[in-house]
Amino acid sequence: MKDQKNIIQIRDVSKVYRRGVEEVHALRSVTIDIERGNYVSIMGPSGSGKSTLFNIIGGLDSPSSGEVFIDGFRLSDLSSRQLAWVRCRRIGFIFQSFNLIPSMTALENVAIARIFAGFSPAQARRDAGQTLERVGLGHRLHHLPSQVSGGQQQRIAIARALVNQPSIILADEPTGNLDLHTGEEIINLIGEMKAKFGITIITATHDMKMLSASDVVVWIKDGAVEKTARKGEINIEVGTIDGKTLA
Protein backbone atom coordinates (compact mmCIF):
# COMPACT_ATOMS: atom_id res chain seq x y z
CA MET A 1 0.00 0.00 0.00
CA LYS A 2 2.97 2.25 0.58
CA ASP A 3 3.99 4.15 -2.51
CA GLN A 4 7.77 4.28 -2.45
CA LYS A 5 8.06 6.77 -5.27
CA ASN A 6 5.40 9.31 -4.39
CA ILE A 7 5.45 10.78 -0.92
CA ILE A 8 2.30 12.81 -1.50
CA GLN A 9 -0.65 11.81 -3.62
CA ILE A 10 -3.47 14.22 -4.21
CA ARG A 11 -6.45 12.48 -5.76
CA ASP A 12 -9.30 14.38 -7.32
CA VAL A 13 -9.35 17.00 -4.58
CA SER A 14 -12.02 19.68 -4.66
CA LYS A 15 -12.75 22.39 -2.18
CA VAL A 16 -15.94 24.38 -2.09
CA TYR A 17 -16.48 27.29 0.27
CA ARG A 18 -19.81 28.79 1.02
CA ARG A 19 -19.90 32.53 1.09
CA GLY A 20 -23.50 33.29 1.96
CA VAL A 21 -25.59 31.72 -0.81
CA GLU A 22 -22.70 31.77 -3.24
CA GLU A 23 -20.48 28.71 -3.70
CA VAL A 24 -16.81 29.38 -4.28
CA HIS A 25 -14.87 26.59 -5.97
CA ALA A 26 -11.35 27.05 -4.62
CA LEU A 27 -10.14 23.73 -6.07
CA ARG A 28 -11.65 21.66 -8.89
CA SER A 29 -10.63 17.99 -8.89
CA VAL A 30 -6.90 18.46 -8.56
CA THR A 31 -4.72 15.37 -8.97
CA ILE A 32 -1.00 15.64 -8.34
CA ASP A 33 1.72 13.15 -7.40
CA ILE A 34 4.73 14.48 -5.61
CA GLU A 35 7.87 12.38 -5.76
CA ARG A 36 10.00 11.74 -2.73
CA GLY A 37 12.96 14.13 -2.57
CA ASN A 38 11.65 16.52 -5.20
CA TYR A 39 11.54 20.28 -5.00
CA VAL A 40 8.06 21.22 -6.12
CA SER A 41 6.88 24.76 -6.65
CA ILE A 42 3.19 25.46 -6.78
CA MET A 43 2.75 28.62 -8.79
CA GLY A 44 -0.26 30.74 -9.35
CA PRO A 45 -1.64 34.19 -8.73
CA SER A 46 -3.41 34.95 -5.48
CA GLY A 47 -6.93 33.62 -5.53
CA SER A 48 -5.93 30.72 -7.78
CA GLY A 49 -6.50 28.12 -5.06
CA LYS A 50 -2.77 27.73 -4.51
CA SER A 51 -3.00 28.46 -0.79
CA THR A 52 -5.99 26.17 -0.35
CA LEU A 53 -4.13 23.31 -2.01
CA PHE A 54 -1.10 24.03 0.12
CA ASN A 55 -3.16 24.04 3.35
CA ILE A 56 -4.82 20.77 2.37
CA ILE A 57 -1.44 19.09 1.80
CA GLY A 58 -0.37 20.19 5.28
CA GLY A 59 -3.54 18.82 6.85
CA LEU A 60 -4.49 22.34 7.90
CA ASP A 61 -7.66 22.29 5.84
CA SER A 62 -9.75 19.37 4.66
CA PRO A 63 -10.97 18.88 1.09
CA SER A 64 -14.69 18.87 0.28
CA SER A 65 -14.09 15.77 -1.82
CA GLY A 66 -11.13 13.72 -2.93
CA GLU A 67 -8.25 12.25 -0.99
CA VAL A 68 -4.80 13.24 0.15
CA PHE A 69 -2.19 10.59 0.98
CA ILE A 70 1.04 11.34 2.79
CA ASP A 71 3.45 8.41 2.86
CA GLY A 72 0.56 6.20 1.84
CA PHE A 73 -1.70 7.30 4.69
CA ARG A 74 -5.01 8.92 3.91
CA LEU A 75 -5.04 12.15 5.93
CA SER A 76 -8.76 11.89 6.60
CA ASP A 77 -8.20 8.53 8.34
CA LEU A 78 -6.04 10.13 11.02
CA SER A 79 -7.35 11.27 14.39
CA SER A 80 -6.60 14.83 15.38
CA ARG A 81 -3.84 13.66 17.71
CA GLN A 82 -2.29 11.55 14.95
CA LEU A 83 -2.53 14.49 12.60
CA ALA A 84 -0.73 16.63 15.18
CA TRP A 85 1.98 13.97 15.32
CA VAL A 86 2.33 13.98 11.53
CA ARG A 87 2.55 17.78 11.50
CA CYS A 88 5.16 17.63 14.22
CA ARG A 89 7.39 14.83 12.98
CA ARG A 90 6.84 14.55 9.25
CA ILE A 91 6.17 18.07 8.05
CA GLY A 92 8.22 21.21 8.58
CA PHE A 93 6.33 24.44 8.00
CA ILE A 94 7.93 27.64 6.75
CA PHE A 95 5.79 30.75 6.52
CA GLN A 96 5.89 33.96 4.53
CA SER A 97 6.04 36.13 7.64
CA PHE A 98 8.35 33.72 9.51
CA ASN A 99 5.86 33.23 12.39
CA LEU A 100 8.45 33.04 15.13
CA ILE A 101 7.24 33.44 18.70
CA PRO A 102 8.36 37.01 19.43
CA SER A 103 8.86 36.44 23.14
CA MET A 104 11.28 33.54 22.66
CA THR A 105 14.92 33.55 21.57
CA ALA A 106 16.12 31.85 18.38
CA LEU A 107 17.16 28.81 20.39
CA GLU A 108 13.84 28.61 22.26
CA ASN A 109 11.87 29.03 19.03
CA VAL A 110 13.59 26.00 17.52
CA ALA A 111 13.65 24.01 20.76
CA ILE A 112 9.89 24.27 21.26
CA ALA A 113 9.30 22.26 18.08
CA ARG A 114 11.68 19.60 19.39
CA ILE A 115 9.91 19.56 22.77
CA PHE A 116 6.60 19.03 20.95
CA ALA A 117 8.20 15.92 19.45
CA GLY A 118 8.63 14.50 22.94
CA PHE A 119 12.23 15.39 23.73
CA SER A 120 13.37 16.74 27.08
CA PRO A 121 13.96 20.51 27.20
CA ALA A 122 17.71 19.97 27.70
CA GLN A 123 17.97 17.62 24.69
CA ALA A 124 15.73 19.93 22.67
CA ARG A 125 18.03 22.90 23.32
CA ARG A 126 21.08 20.87 22.27
CA ASP A 127 19.43 19.77 19.02
CA ALA A 128 18.10 23.28 18.40
CA GLY A 129 21.60 24.72 18.82
CA GLN A 130 23.03 22.24 16.32
CA THR A 131 20.29 22.90 13.78
CA LEU A 132 20.73 26.66 14.09
CA GLU A 133 24.44 26.23 13.47
CA ARG A 134 23.61 24.21 10.38
CA VAL A 135 21.64 27.14 8.91
CA GLY A 136 24.48 29.52 9.77
CA LEU A 137 23.03 31.10 12.89
CA GLY A 138 25.32 29.62 15.54
CA HIS A 139 26.16 33.15 16.65
CA ARG A 140 22.55 34.28 17.13
CA LEU A 141 21.21 31.62 19.49
CA HIS A 142 20.13 33.97 22.24
CA HIS A 143 18.75 36.79 20.13
CA LEU A 144 15.05 37.55 19.97
CA PRO A 145 13.47 37.50 16.48
CA SER A 146 13.12 41.30 16.64
CA GLN A 147 16.88 41.62 17.10
CA VAL A 148 17.85 39.93 13.83
CA SER A 149 17.23 40.67 10.14
CA GLY A 150 14.35 39.25 8.09
CA GLY A 151 16.65 36.78 6.35
CA GLN A 152 17.97 35.58 9.68
CA GLN A 153 14.43 35.23 11.03
CA GLN A 154 13.59 33.03 8.07
CA ARG A 155 16.72 30.99 8.80
CA ILE A 156 15.51 30.48 12.37
CA ALA A 157 12.18 29.35 10.94
CA ILE A 158 13.96 26.94 8.60
CA ALA A 159 15.91 25.53 11.56
CA ARG A 160 12.62 25.11 13.40
CA ALA A 161 11.17 23.28 10.40
CA LEU A 162 14.23 21.02 10.16
CA VAL A 163 14.83 20.20 13.81
CA ASN A 164 12.52 17.16 13.84
CA GLN A 165 14.04 15.73 10.64
CA PRO A 166 10.83 15.91 8.63
CA SER A 167 10.39 14.16 5.32
CA ILE A 168 8.46 17.09 3.85
CA ILE A 169 8.92 20.83 4.09
CA LEU A 170 5.98 23.03 3.25
CA ALA A 171 7.03 26.57 2.55
CA ASP A 172 4.36 29.19 1.95
CA GLU A 173 5.86 32.10 0.00
CA PRO A 174 9.12 31.75 1.94
CA THR A 175 10.72 34.67 0.09
CA GLY A 176 7.64 36.89 0.01
CA ASN A 177 8.82 39.20 2.79
CA LEU A 178 12.48 39.27 1.80
CA ASP A 179 14.52 41.37 -0.62
CA LEU A 180 15.86 39.84 -3.84
CA HIS A 181 19.28 38.91 -2.55
CA THR A 182 18.15 37.50 0.82
CA GLY A 183 15.36 35.63 -0.94
CA GLU A 184 17.93 33.97 -3.17
CA GLU A 185 19.98 32.93 -0.15
CA ILE A 186 16.92 31.37 1.44
CA ILE A 187 16.07 29.48 -1.76
CA ASN A 188 19.64 28.17 -1.91
CA LEU A 189 19.47 27.12 1.73
CA ILE A 190 16.22 25.24 1.18
CA GLY A 191 17.73 23.60 -1.92
CA GLU A 192 20.76 22.60 0.10
CA MET A 193 18.55 20.93 2.73
CA LYS A 194 16.84 19.00 -0.03
CA ALA A 195 20.16 17.78 -1.38
CA LYS A 196 21.65 16.97 2.03
CA PHE A 197 18.72 15.28 3.76
CA GLY A 198 16.57 14.16 0.84
CA ILE A 199 13.66 16.20 2.13
CA THR A 200 10.74 16.78 -0.21
CA ILE A 201 10.18 20.51 -0.58
CA ILE A 202 6.85 22.00 -1.55
CA THR A 203 6.58 25.73 -1.92
CA ALA A 204 3.64 27.90 -2.81
CA THR A 205 5.06 30.91 -4.51
CA HIS A 206 4.96 33.42 -7.28
CA ASP A 207 8.64 34.12 -7.00
CA MET A 208 10.25 33.39 -10.37
CA LYS A 209 13.59 32.77 -8.67
CA MET A 210 12.08 29.55 -7.35
CA LEU A 211 11.82 28.15 -10.85
CA SER A 212 15.50 27.39 -11.28
CA ALA A 213 15.67 25.53 -7.97
CA SER A 214 12.55 23.45 -8.64
CA ASP A 215 12.42 19.92 -9.97
CA VAL A 216 8.75 20.27 -10.81
CA VAL A 217 6.57 23.32 -11.20
CA VAL A 218 2.81 23.07 -10.97
CA TRP A 219 0.75 25.99 -12.21
CA ILE A 220 -2.63 26.43 -10.62
CA LYS A 221 -5.27 28.58 -12.24
CA ASP A 222 -8.90 28.99 -11.20
CA GLY A 223 -8.61 26.05 -8.83
CA ALA A 224 -7.31 23.56 -11.37
CA VAL A 225 -3.89 22.36 -12.48
CA GLU A 226 -3.16 24.34 -15.59
CA LYS A 227 0.24 22.88 -16.36
CA THR A 228 2.98 20.76 -14.84
CA ALA A 229 6.56 21.11 -15.94
CA ARG A 230 9.71 19.23 -15.01
CA LYS A 231 13.10 20.81 -14.61
CA GLY A 232 14.34 20.40 -18.19
CA GLU A 233 11.20 21.86 -19.68
CA ILE A 234 11.14 24.89 -17.42
CA ASN A 235 14.40 26.39 -18.62
CA ILE A 236 13.40 26.25 -22.26
CA GLU A 237 10.01 27.78 -21.76
CA VAL A 238 10.83 30.22 -19.05
CA GLY A 239 10.23 33.30 -21.18
CA THR A 240 6.76 32.35 -22.28
CA ILE A 241 5.79 31.01 -18.90
CA ASP A 242 6.99 34.23 -17.33
CA GLY A 243 4.74 36.28 -19.48
CA LYS A 244 1.80 33.96 -18.88
CA THR A 245 1.82 33.83 -15.10
CA LEU A 246 2.77 37.43 -14.60
CA ALA A 247 -0.08 38.68 -16.73
Binding site: L78, R81, A84, R89, P102, G118, P121, E173
Partner: protein, 224 residues
Protein backbone atom coordinates in the same frame (compact mmCIF):
# COMPACT_ATOMS: atom_id res chain seq x y z
CA UNK B 1 15.12 8.89 19.39
CA UNK B 2 15.00 8.39 15.65
CA UNK B 3 11.87 9.34 13.74
CA UNK B 4 9.77 6.22 13.59
CA UNK B 5 8.51 4.92 10.29
CA UNK B 6 4.95 3.78 10.79
CA UNK B 7 3.79 1.34 8.15
CA UNK B 8 0.14 1.04 9.15
CA UNK B 9 -2.38 3.61 10.22
CA UNK B 10 -2.56 2.39 13.81
CA UNK B 11 1.21 2.69 14.08
CA UNK B 12 1.05 6.44 13.73
CA UNK B 13 1.26 7.47 17.36
CA UNK B 14 -0.85 10.07 19.08
CA UNK B 15 0.91 13.36 19.59
CA UNK B 16 2.50 13.72 23.03
CA UNK B 17 0.92 15.81 25.73
CA UNK B 18 3.30 18.55 26.68
CA UNK B 19 4.05 18.85 30.40
CA UNK B 20 2.81 21.85 32.40
CA UNK B 21 6.40 22.98 32.97
CA UNK B 22 6.88 23.68 29.26
CA UNK B 23 3.54 25.49 29.06
CA UNK B 24 4.69 27.53 32.04
CA UNK B 25 7.89 28.58 30.26
CA UNK B 26 5.98 29.64 27.16
CA UNK B 27 3.44 31.64 29.20
CA UNK B 28 6.12 33.21 31.33
CA UNK B 29 7.99 34.35 28.23
CA UNK B 30 4.73 35.86 26.97
CA UNK B 31 4.01 37.68 30.22
CA UNK B 32 7.57 39.00 30.38
CA UNK B 33 7.41 40.37 26.88
CA UNK B 34 4.10 42.12 27.49
CA UNK B 35 5.08 43.18 30.97
CA UNK B 36 3.39 46.59 30.73
CA UNK B 37 0.09 45.14 29.52
CA UNK B 38 0.29 42.30 32.02
CA UNK B 39 0.87 44.85 34.76
CA UNK B 40 -2.27 46.76 33.80
CA UNK B 41 -4.35 43.56 33.76
CA UNK B 42 -2.85 42.74 37.12
CA UNK B 43 -3.67 46.20 38.44
CA UNK B 44 -7.38 45.36 38.24
CA UNK B 45 -6.85 42.37 40.51
CA UNK B 46 -4.54 44.35 42.78
CA UNK B 47 -7.14 47.09 43.33
CA UNK B 48 -10.07 44.74 43.91
CA UNK B 49 -8.17 42.53 46.33
CA UNK B 50 -6.59 45.52 48.09
CA UNK B 51 -10.06 46.96 48.67
CA UNK B 52 -11.32 43.62 49.98
CA UNK B 53 -8.35 43.19 52.30
CA UNK B 54 -8.50 46.79 53.47
CA UNK B 55 -12.22 46.58 54.33
CA UNK B 56 -11.88 43.27 56.16
CA UNK B 57 -8.75 44.10 58.13
CA UNK B 58 -10.07 47.55 59.12
CA UNK B 59 -13.18 45.80 60.34
CA UNK B 60 -11.01 43.37 62.33
CA UNK B 61 -9.04 46.21 63.94
CA UNK B 62 -12.04 48.31 64.96
CA UNK B 63 -13.76 45.23 66.34
CA UNK B 64 -10.69 44.38 68.38
CA UNK B 65 -10.43 47.95 69.68
CA UNK B 66 -14.13 48.10 70.59
CA UNK B 67 -13.72 44.89 72.55
CA UNK B 68 -11.07 46.50 74.79
CA UNK B 69 -13.83 48.65 76.45
CA UNK B 70 -11.21 51.37 76.87
CA UNK B 71 -12.79 54.86 77.28
CA UNK B 72 -9.93 56.73 75.67
CA UNK B 73 -10.09 54.43 72.63
CA UNK B 74 -13.88 54.83 72.46
CA UNK B 75 -13.46 58.58 72.03
CA UNK B 76 -10.96 57.97 69.22
CA UNK B 77 -13.27 55.41 67.62
CA UNK B 78 -16.22 57.81 67.68
CA UNK B 79 -14.02 60.55 66.25
CA UNK B 80 -13.16 58.20 63.37
CA UNK B 81 -16.88 57.69 62.76
CA UNK B 82 -17.18 54.16 64.18
CA UNK B 83 -20.37 53.27 66.03
CA UNK B 84 -19.02 51.08 68.85
CA UNK B 85 -22.33 49.26 69.15
CA UNK B 86 -22.57 48.04 65.56
CA UNK B 87 -18.85 47.57 64.95
CA UNK B 88 -19.12 43.81 64.90
CA UNK B 89 -21.08 43.56 61.65
CA UNK B 90 -20.21 44.48 58.09
CA UNK B 91 -22.81 46.76 56.56
CA UNK B 92 -24.49 45.91 53.26
CA UNK B 93 -22.99 48.89 51.43
CA UNK B 94 -19.51 47.54 52.08
CA UNK B 95 -20.51 44.13 50.77
CA UNK B 96 -22.07 45.69 47.68
CA UNK B 97 -18.94 47.75 47.05
CA UNK B 98 -16.66 44.74 47.38
CA UNK B 99 -18.88 42.58 45.15
CA UNK B 100 -18.96 45.26 42.47
CA UNK B 101 -15.20 45.68 42.53
CA UNK B 102 -14.73 41.92 42.24
CA UNK B 103 -17.10 41.66 39.27
CA UNK B 104 -15.33 44.56 37.55
CA UNK B 105 -12.05 42.80 38.13
CA UNK B 106 -13.40 39.53 36.69
CA UNK B 107 -14.69 41.24 33.55
CA UNK B 108 -11.40 43.12 33.26
CA UNK B 109 -9.29 39.97 33.24
CA UNK B 110 -11.56 38.21 30.74
CA UNK B 111 -11.42 41.22 28.45
CA UNK B 112 -7.65 41.50 28.67
CA UNK B 113 -7.18 37.78 28.03
CA UNK B 114 -9.54 37.75 25.05
CA UNK B 115 -7.55 40.61 23.54
CA UNK B 116 -4.36 38.76 24.22
CA UNK B 117 -5.76 35.71 22.38
CA UNK B 118 -6.97 37.75 19.38
CA UNK B 119 -3.57 39.35 19.12
CA UNK B 120 -1.86 35.98 19.05
CA UNK B 121 -4.16 33.99 16.76
CA UNK B 122 -1.26 33.54 14.37
CA UNK B 123 1.07 32.44 17.15
CA UNK B 124 -1.48 29.84 18.26
CA UNK B 125 -1.85 28.63 14.66
CA UNK B 126 1.91 28.35 14.33
CA UNK B 127 2.23 26.33 17.54
CA UNK B 128 -0.45 23.99 16.20
CA UNK B 129 1.44 23.62 12.92
CA UNK B 130 4.44 22.60 14.99
CA UNK B 131 2.36 19.89 16.61
CA UNK B 132 0.87 21.57 19.68
CA UNK B 133 -2.35 19.97 20.89
CA UNK B 134 -5.37 21.96 22.07
CA UNK B 135 -4.53 20.96 25.62
CA UNK B 136 -1.16 22.72 25.36
CA UNK B 137 -2.81 25.96 24.25
CA UNK B 138 -5.36 25.70 27.07
CA UNK B 139 -2.59 25.10 29.58
CA UNK B 140 -0.42 27.98 28.50
CA UNK B 141 -3.24 30.56 28.39
CA UNK B 142 -4.63 29.28 31.66
CA UNK B 143 -1.22 29.68 33.28
CA UNK B 144 -0.73 33.15 31.83
CA UNK B 145 -4.01 34.39 33.20
CA UNK B 146 -3.66 32.65 36.56
CA UNK B 147 -0.14 33.99 36.93
CA UNK B 148 -1.43 37.53 36.58
CA UNK B 149 -4.22 36.76 39.04
CA UNK B 150 -1.83 35.18 41.52
CA UNK B 151 0.67 38.03 41.49
CA UNK B 152 -2.15 40.60 41.53
CA UNK B 153 -3.67 38.91 44.57
CA UNK B 154 -0.33 38.90 46.34
CA UNK B 155 0.27 42.61 45.75
CA UNK B 156 -3.36 43.42 46.49
CA UNK B 157 -3.21 41.76 49.90
CA UNK B 158 0.06 43.51 50.76
CA UNK B 159 -1.27 46.93 49.75
CA UNK B 160 -4.66 46.45 51.44
CA UNK B 161 -3.04 45.30 54.67
CA UNK B 162 -0.53 48.14 54.66
CA UNK B 163 -3.16 50.83 54.04
CA UNK B 164 -5.51 49.40 56.70
CA UNK B 165 -2.76 49.41 59.33
CA UNK B 166 -1.51 52.85 58.26
CA UNK B 167 -4.96 54.46 58.51
CA UNK B 168 -5.79 52.69 61.79
CA UNK B 169 -2.48 53.82 63.28
CA UNK B 170 -3.09 57.46 62.35
CA UNK B 171 -6.56 57.23 63.92
CA UNK B 172 -5.88 55.23 67.06
CA UNK B 173 -2.13 55.38 67.62
CA UNK B 174 -0.07 52.54 68.99
CA UNK B 175 -3.11 50.79 70.46
CA UNK B 176 -3.56 49.20 67.02
CA UNK B 177 -0.41 47.15 67.55
CA UNK B 178 -1.13 46.39 71.22
CA UNK B 179 -4.56 45.01 70.36
CA UNK B 180 -3.81 43.82 66.82
CA UNK B 181 -6.30 41.09 65.89
CA UNK B 182 -3.72 38.65 64.53
CA UNK B 183 -5.93 35.61 64.03
CA UNK B 184 -8.87 37.54 62.56
CA UNK B 185 -6.52 39.38 60.16
CA UNK B 186 -5.01 36.11 58.97
CA UNK B 187 -8.51 34.83 58.33
CA UNK B 188 -9.36 37.97 56.32
CA UNK B 189 -6.17 37.61 54.31
CA UNK B 190 -6.98 33.99 53.54
CA UNK B 191 -10.45 34.96 52.35
CA UNK B 192 -8.92 37.64 50.11
CA UNK B 193 -6.34 35.18 48.74
CA UNK B 194 -8.93 32.52 47.93
CA UNK B 195 -11.23 35.11 46.34
CA UNK B 196 -8.40 36.50 44.20
CA UNK B 197 -7.29 33.09 42.99
CA UNK B 198 -10.83 31.94 42.34
CA UNK B 199 -11.56 35.02 40.25
CA UNK B 200 -8.42 34.67 38.17
CA UNK B 201 -9.05 30.97 37.56
CA UNK B 202 -12.69 31.51 36.59
CA UNK B 203 -11.65 34.39 34.32
CA UNK B 204 -9.01 32.29 32.54
CA UNK B 205 -11.21 29.35 31.56
CA UNK B 206 -13.19 30.95 28.72
CA UNK B 207 -10.26 32.73 27.00
CA UNK B 208 -8.06 29.61 27.26
CA UNK B 209 -10.67 27.42 25.53
CA UNK B 210 -11.36 30.09 22.96
CA UNK B 211 -7.64 30.20 22.19
CA UNK B 212 -7.44 26.42 21.82
CA UNK B 213 -10.28 26.41 19.28
CA UNK B 214 -8.26 28.52 16.81
CA UNK B 215 -7.32 26.55 13.70
CA UNK B 216 -3.71 25.94 12.66
CA UNK B 217 -4.54 27.41 9.24
CA UNK B 218 -4.66 30.83 10.95
CA UNK B 219 -0.87 30.68 10.92
CA UNK B 220 -0.94 31.15 7.15
CA UNK B 221 -2.88 34.38 7.32
CA UNK B 222 -0.74 37.27 6.16
CA UNK B 223 -1.30 40.69 7.65
CA UNK B 224 -1.52 43.34 5.00
Amino acid sequence: MEPTQPSAIHEIPNQYSIPWSVAFQVSWAGVRRRIFRSAITMLGVVLAIALLTYMFVTQNITESLVNTNDDALFILLQKAGVDPFSANRVDSMTILLITLSLITCLVGIINAMLMSVTERIKEIGTLKCLGALDSFIVKSYFIESSLQGFLGTLFGIAIGLLVAILIATTNYGRAVFTFFPGLAAVKSILIAAVTGLLISIVASIAPAYWAAKKEPVEAMRVEE
